[in-house]
Amino acid sequence: MHSDILNMSLVETANAIREKKVSSLEVVHESINRAEALQPILNCFIQLTAEEALSDAKKADAELAKGQIRGSLHGVPLAHKDMFYRTGKKSTCGSKIRKNYIASCTSTALSRLIDAGSIYLGGLNMAEFATGPTGHNEHWGNTHNPWNPKFIAGGSSSGTGSAVAARIVYGGLGSDTGGSIRIPASVNGLVGLKPTNGLVSRYGIMPVSFTMDTIGPLTRTVEDNARLTSIIAGYDPLDNTTSDRLVPDYEDILKKSIKGIRIGVPQNYYYDIIHPEIKQLQNTSLEIFKELGAEIIEVKVPDMHIPTHMSNIVFVSEASTIHEKWLRECPNDYQEQVRRRYEPGIYMPAPKYIQALNLRPHLLEEFSKLIFSTVDVLHTPGLPMPVPELAETDVGAGQGMPELIAGLSWTTRSNNYLGIPSLSIPCGFSSNDMPAAFQLMGRPFSEQLLFQIGNAYQISTNWHKQSPPPYI
């Protein structure tokens, strides 16, 4: 029973704890054992708070025995990217500079998950200051992919991708400024949501680009993702960019038919650098949607290089604003690739940054009107190429490395500038036996529809039920 329980979904485990088929202490104990056993292989934790988690699990069991249930995650262990602050606790942000940083507040998203009963198992490895799509980290060591440790775990939420796929925890939070949830979701065979900007509070996280940062969950199933999103979404007076729109229960219409839903397939940009194997997997997933009664419609998208370039203007300007003091005082405490990403922002003329912000709603409107007047969602590849090996994306990997790195966020980066939601869903394996994914993009605040379509796909397929090698 014990090793099996970590293979269950988050929702199944929450139900099993609630029905007292298993205790929170048993589940947390199993999670800790697995985390400790896999750490030398995957390096997905920066800090494992085992004692605290065991103590919290005992409390959760005692409460349950008295009939007290905190919420829909009662007793379920989760772990999160090590950038979600907890008052009085260390939060490294994957950096040397914040190696001993003690937070003075708690992240709203994290406190909502804890209020719903989840158990905090620790802070997960990540790219330094949430910058980088591969999972490389000179300060804390690289994160490895559980499907094969030679391959990248993606980034910047590398530890969350690795730990959830490795069946250490059932889900966890990541952050996404250009693909940092969706890339690790794609390469680890997980479901990852980049929500609409403003749906989830960013209060109490280390920002990297404050107008484009978003927070969302990585999980093994769409249903699990919908549960976590229902909990963390919604207005927060501590983050004045959050929307006061009513948040639905995203699990409500998960099982509703998708017959008649119009799925757009882009005829330009998204397939420009596609690998044939990935294209084949995209086509196969579209065939399944056809069988489910969805209408597949070819669409022409605007020039997506423009929002991608604009997102780079905003990113370098805001990241260098946040990091200016450290870049000046301790530039050598950054890993070189991260420092080189921020540095150009110092020289970006201020009018250009403001103009890029000013253009943002115009490009969003142009994109939305062109695409979502014709289709309900857009279906694109997740990663356009098979998952690369860590060695291929190392600094010294050679000539093709910069293009390979840029290609990792080819389909993701523009959405953070546009602000629209995107859901990454696993859709098979390429010939290197590594996961592949598609991405669903919708109009602002259409997360419920994305979950409905994604869940219909998972009910008809079993990619999400496949596990990486157990190792232990």
């Binding site: 003329p349 912000l357 709603p361 115009h362 602002p444 605040f445």
Partner: protein, 66 residues
């Protein structure tokens, strides 16, 4: 069109008290900035910039399904 050259990068860094990048890196930074700025200027020729940037949350709400 705005043009940022490597000499500007180096002189700005000296002026503001930064460790100046070497010539190759300054060239790399200026090329990158020019590419981004060119894309921006090509896309904003019809816009005027007489007000603060539009509220993105309003735009997202407006375009959401009612």
């Amino acid at each position: 069109m705005t043009q940022i050259n490597r000499d500007l990068i180096i002189s700005q860094s000296c002026q503001y008290g930064w460790a100046p990048p070497n010539i190759e890196r300054a060239q790399e930074i200026s090329s990158m900035l020019n590419e981004l700025i060119r894309a921006l200027e090509n896309s904003t020729s019809v816009l005027n910039f007489e007000s603060e940037p539009d509220n993105m949350q309003q735009a997202l709400n407006k375009l959401a399904e009612k």
